[in-house]
Symmetry: C2
Subunit: 389 residues, 2 copies
């Protein structure tokens, strides 16, 4: 059913962006021998359609997309999403009344996949299945002639290299987060509970132009912090503390992902030296981040400066875009080769002592020649707020 | 490995809360003949452990939890999460360096599940699998003696009835959102782009005490809006528009989920009549929302007032708690019986004209006798901002 409706919001990109994504996908599908690809997850549906809504947070309804080897994607979505999907470049939108007592889109999906012998779907690293396993089994049983196969590498390769339109959005959100971090001296202070520092920073990000702040983690403690994934507690900031905030704010569904460190009152030598080391590690990676270099080589460049194992964090950076973290990983076993247009984070970390780590992060685009920094470069020395002189 | 560490944040609930959840779960597991349950998703891991982090937004690493028929849960998590997990009531925390080249926790998980013959996991309505399908297949192949079976109804029944500690958090976040909506006349105005209204409301929610605003959708248009799941566009609000904002703000990981409607300048009779009908529909549901009543009966009570089919939205409310929407659904086919402690939304909607709908929502707790409203009751008449008199 085709139903071009009235659009309530402006599309994130012109149709040409989605046409290019589809052309690249179908070229790769031909090489891989795939007749179609099938997706259940937000990022992949949005990548091929432009369909963007926070409504994915409700687990109630499944959403499906079929990308055939020829022709445009087919959306199989709950009726509640029909109007929004009709505003995208997709023509073929098939809907059902969801939630449904007995058939939540499975037979519609089966009909859409029936023509295809080999169907790719993400089954590998970083993937998940956003539909009931019982429904997925029912689907496979209804299509005995269809081979479902893993297309993770294909989709990763497509999404890893960003278009200039995508880079432009990422540049803007990274600039906004840089602006918000630039207000640190006004936002954060001794005696402020960490939870209030988070609140102030969220508001500053929104005021700087971010659409949303889906990700904000951090820590604060004497000369470092124990952890980089915790929500904030109520403990007030104290002189000698180092505060780290790591934010994934979004604009039009694209994330920044970088952090900044601030000391309060004064910083001990361990914290200052650690900060300098991490800054030099990023410099070392920026110096080699060129097309043709692998993730493993980026990792080695940073590890040579840090002189420690990667530790709890597990890696020194990753891809960035529609998701807070995307493939590849800056880690010793990842031999992914840098290509122009790849947007990456460099995220070296180190252990400063027991229960005390430090992490540093920048966002960049791989270019022919020097990379383009998207985050405003952190200062070479640990900044001290409310310095006691 | 047991590793009780230093806690950076206060736990969301005392240990007794998690002990009670486990006791209820294990009682139900015995009845269902389950030797263990196995989870991959944020909500279920948090429900049984208290482990709360936004880091789940990164798709890179899988996280696993095993709930045995006897004894405490076993967490199998990436090393990066060990410190935070050690702050929960869980003793048995098994970690690996993730991301991993060849084995992202699968063999650790296999070891943990090996003792159990029948393992439940969510495979039904509203569930998803947050691990690679190839890894899940590898897991099943490594455990030929293990039967994996669906435990969706068991987990749904557990989570549906909230403890008083959970209700207390939900009451607070609903109160904060009510406070923010109460500032509408200061926040929203004619000429303001919808995107700026969203921004102002996000900031108001944070200032009212919300930890986060993961969900905010809405619409604005002449006498109604075309859709209830869209992100905001740049169109400025105009006299005669009806603005609807629907928010899932959070406190300690628990959501409110309700909306409010506001007209600008003046409201036409269709909008005012529609609003009154939806308000009366909610009244009708509140009048029958008692223990023993089914979702289907709640749905019927609202539909009798509205006199329309449920339409695109598909249902008139749902469960609420750790997720923006939870089971059950207020819909004709859902025969779930209301029990004291269930937290629900009532969300009647109606079509006012072509491309023009209206939706209304309240949050409540089922009690012995009258339900307790968590959202501050919407006024009986459509509020008009900047009224032209």
């Amino acid at each position: 059913m085709s139903r071009k409706g009235q659009r309530m919001t402006e599309p994130d990109f012109p149709n040409a962006e989605f046409e290019q994504r589809l052309i690249r996908a179908q070229r790769a599908m031909k090489v891989a021998g795939l007749d179609a690809m099938f997706f259940t997850t937000e990022t992949e549906v949005r990548y091929f359609t432009g369909f963007r809504t926070l409504f994915w947070q409700s687990p109630t309804r499944p959403w499906f997309l079929v990308v055939p080897g020829d022709g445009k994607p087919v959306a199989i979505v709950p009726e509640i999403g029909a109007a929004l999907m009709a505003g995208t470049w997709v023509d073929d939108i098939r809907t059902w009344a969801s939630p449904h007592a007995t058939d939540d889109g499975v037979s519609l999906l089966g009909d859409a996949l029936k023509p295809f012998a080999t169907v790719g779907m993400p089954m590998g690293r970083e993937s998940s299945l956003r539909m009931a396993l019982t429904d997925f089994d029912r689907l496979r049983n209804s299509l005995p002639g269809t081979c479902f196969t893993d297309c993770t590498p294909l989709v990763r390769d497509l999404r890893m290299v960003k278009s200039e339109a995508e880079v432009a959005v990422l540049r803007r959100i990274c600039g906004m987060a840089s602006d918000a971090f630039g207000q640190a001296a006004d936002l954060f202070h001794i005696g402020q509970p960490l939870s209030e520092a988070f609140r102030a920073f969220r508001i500053a990000l929104l005021q700087a132009g971010a659409d949303d702040v889906p990700y904000l983690v951090g820590g604060a403690g004497p000369g470092g912090y124990p952890d980089v994934i915790s929500p904030p507690g109520a403990r007030p900031m104290q002189p000698g503390d180092v505060l780290m905030l790591d934010t994934g704010a979004t604009l039009r569904g694209y994330h920044c992902d970088f952090d900044r460190n601030f000391a309060f009152g004064q910083a001990d030598e361990t914290a200052r030296a650690g900060y300098r080391t991490l800054h030099r590690a990023t410099e070392a990676a920026l110096a080699v981040a060129r097309p043709g270099v692998t993730c493993a080589e980026l990792h080695r460049a940073m590890q040579a400066v840090i002189g420690q194992d990667t530790g709890d964090v597990g890696r020194y950076g990753h891809g960035l875009g529609m998701q807070l973290t995307e493939s590849p990983s800056v880690i010793g076993f990842d031999e992914t080769v840098m290509r122009p247009g790849m947007v990456m984070t460099l995220e070296p970390s180190m252990v400063l002592g027991k229960g005390r780590i430090m992490v540093h992060e920048e966002n960049l685009v791989i270019r022919d020649g020097e990379p383009e920094l998207l985050s405003r470069r952190a200062p070479a020395e640990l900044p001290v707020l409310e310095a006691t002189t």
